[in-house]
């Protein structure tokens, strides 16, 4: 069943000089029930902006331009701000911000955050009921009950991150959007948080998940499908196996060769680094956005709009024929 369908979504930032920075430019994808979609890309490619746009939180300077976000058959971009906040956020789609562990008010006990949410969304529930619910949920997710009574400063970074995840999924949203939930944690804590995200899916607390990160080995283990983004556009889609081991778009190929893992033989490999910097999204870009940094650029890449190409169930945004890019990957 299709849970979420995003079509040609375009959102931009308005700067104080009245410039438009189009950070998400025509992104389309579908999310099935029970699926984890990974979104990969370098800093500034629009990953986090996409996450903010998906939950319909268009607060200045982020503005909505065009396209649709359809959750369970309902286009949430057409709803007004208040309905979106009351009926969609937290219930249908929940969001874990990048610096989730700094999102907790240091003067509140953890349980008060949960009381607060429930007072807004289910005012008929009594405090005892909410507390009981929270306790059950924390137990389910292997979090200590005493956390409920603690202040945020008593918790470690990984613990805070897990608490935020537990709080934001308390109303069983259909979709969870996790924006770099582990990038500030060390490897051991990262694993604990990943376990928790996986158990959310297993226990059917959330139906699907969108996982944003630039750590590709991490995506390989959690995501079913991966979308690679570059300069506000999705440039490659596929299953995680396909995208990581057989990338087609030249940018994805470069990205996959920059993976560092502690496996014997890694030391002999040469890491690739892409010269240059991504384009400034302030200006309208003609042709392929990756063209100035691409090793295999041809004259025809530099003009016109490059559309997504469908090729044997794979989708990618490149004019070059598959053979050329395949040789790069090999």
């Amino acid at each position: 069943m299709k849970l979420l369908s995003v079509q040609e979504l375009k959102t931009y930032y308005k700067t104080r000089f009245k410039e438009k920075i189009v950070a998400v430019d025509g992104v389309s994808f579908d999310l099935e029930e029970g699926e984890v979609l990974g979104i990969a890309g370098e800093s500034g490619c629009g990953k986090s902006t996409l996450a903010l746009s998906l939950i319909g939180l268009f607060a200045m300077p982020l503005c909505y331009d065009s396209g649709s976000i359809i959750i369970n058959g309902q286009d949430i971009t057409q709803l007004d701000k208040e309905t979106r906040r009351v009926n969609v956020l937290g219930k249908k789609i929940a969001y874990i911000p990048q610096a989730a562990m700094n999102a907790l008010n240091p003067t509140c006990r953890i349980k008060n955050f949960i009381f607060d949410i429930m007072k807004e969304h289910h005012p008929q529930m009594s405090k005892e009921e909410v507390y009981h619910l929270a306790k059950e949920r924390f137990k389910d997710l292997n979090l200590d009950e005493r956390v409920l009574e603690a202040y945020p400063n008593e918790l470690s970074g990984g613990m805070k991150q897990r608490t935020v995840i537990a709080i934001s999924t308390i109303m069983n949203p259909d979709i969870l959007v996790a924006d770099e939930p582990t990038s500030a944690l060390d490897v051991s804590t990262q694993k604990v948080v990943m376990r928790m995200l996986k158990s959310l899916m297993k226990k059917k607390i959330v139906k699907s998940m969108i996982f944003i990160t630039h750590e590709l080995p991490l995506l390989y283990h959690i995501a079913d499908k991966i979308m690679v983004m570059y300069a506000g556009q999705g440039v490659e889609f596929g299953t995680s196996e396909e995208v990581i081991f057989k990338p087609l778009h030249p940018y994805a190929v470069e990205l996959m060769t920059s993976i560092v893992v502690p496996e014997v033989g890694q030391k002999a490999q040469k890491l690739s680094s892409i010269p240059g910097a991504p384009p400034n999204l302030k200006y309208k870009i003609d042709g392929c956005r990756f063209a100035p940094r691409c090793k295999y650029v041809e004259e025809r890449c530099k003009t016109g709009f490059i559309d997504i190409k469908y090729n044997e169930e794979r989708m990618y945004r490149c004019l070059l024929n598959r053979k050329v890019v395949d040789e790069v990957g090999a």
Partner: protein, 267 residues
């Protein structure tokens, strides 16, 4: 005859206790080390294992509670300003957070010019410019574009590269890199690592690389130290530590890193 590597920095029974009495936190416990000229050594451990404390002591930013440090076979003394200045022209660092390691009020040009001051060089304007340009080429930056910019106008990767350009100008003997790649994304990470290795190759610099990611440590370093709760629990060449870990903590660290060709147990 086997070539004996020249020992540049040596530590004996280094200890650091934060606070005192019952509440004291023993962050670094009886750590011994020897860093030879031109090698890259990684110190790997989880948050709170004392790796940054150790780095700060090596830098001379923290005073060790107990133990002796020898720099170039002489006991290190940092009491006088001139001594510290001399030490810092030979021992330099790159920190974790590029966004907070620059003076916001300085343009990139003056940041780089300060390096000549530290080394005590007297150069003509033209010579300075040539050297700064050379340093920027080394790190793949365009000097003419950057010179009039303030640090906050740069991206994280660019800032970290400006930091490396500084190192290139100062030519220290020892570089302490404290998680230089943890705040920047995977693509620029490869660039930074390659530059560090190039620096070592060209200047025969000793690099102390601090990280929590064993993958990175394995990729860049000759030797790896594993730290847990202030103790160094395992040390050896990068290959042996990754391929044949002996200490349970090392094994756990290796299993915690997501890999591409092995299953990762996240339930």
């Amino acid at each position: 005859m086997k070539l004996v590597p020249k020992i540049l920095l040596e530590g004996k029974n280094i200890n650091k206790v934060y606070g005192h009495g019952k509440k004291g936190v023993h962050a670094v416990k009886d750590v011994d080390f020897k860093f030879a000229e031109g090698e890259i050594v990684s110190i790997v451990g989880e948050s709170g294992s004392g790796k940054t404390t150790l780095a700060k002591m090596i830098m001379g930013l923290l005073k060790e509670t107990d133990g002796e440090l020898y720099f170039k076979n002489q006991a290190r003394s940092l009491k006088k300003f001139s001594e510290r200045r001399q030490y810092w022209s030979e021992v330099q660092a790159i920190f974790q957070d590029p966004f907070s390691s620059f003076n916001e009020f300085y343009k990139v040009e003056s940041l780089l010019k300060n390096c000549f001051k530290l080394r005590g060089l007297k150069l003509s304007k033209q010579e300075m410019e040539d050297r700064m340009r050379e340093a920027c080429i080394f790190v793949n930056l365009d000097f003419d574009e950057l010179r009039k910019k303030h640090p906050f106008e740069l991206s994280g990767g660019q800032m970290q590269r400006v930091m490396i350009a500084r190192i290139f100008l100062i030519h220290p003997r020892i570089l302490v890199a404290d998680e230089p790649t943890s705040m920047i994304d995977a693509c620029s990470r490869a660039t930074i690592l390659d530059m560090l290795m190039k620096l070592r190759k060209e200047n025969n610099m000793t690099i102390i690389f601090i990280t929590h990611d064993l993958g990175l440590a394995y990729y860049v370093s000759d030797r790896v130290f594993i730290m847990e709760h202030g103790n160094i629990v395992e040390r050896g060449t990068a290959e042996t530590v990754i391929a044949h870990p002996t200490h349970p903590y090392t094994k756990q660290l290796i299993s915690d890193v997501p890999k591409l060709h092995e299953a990762w147990d996240i339930g």
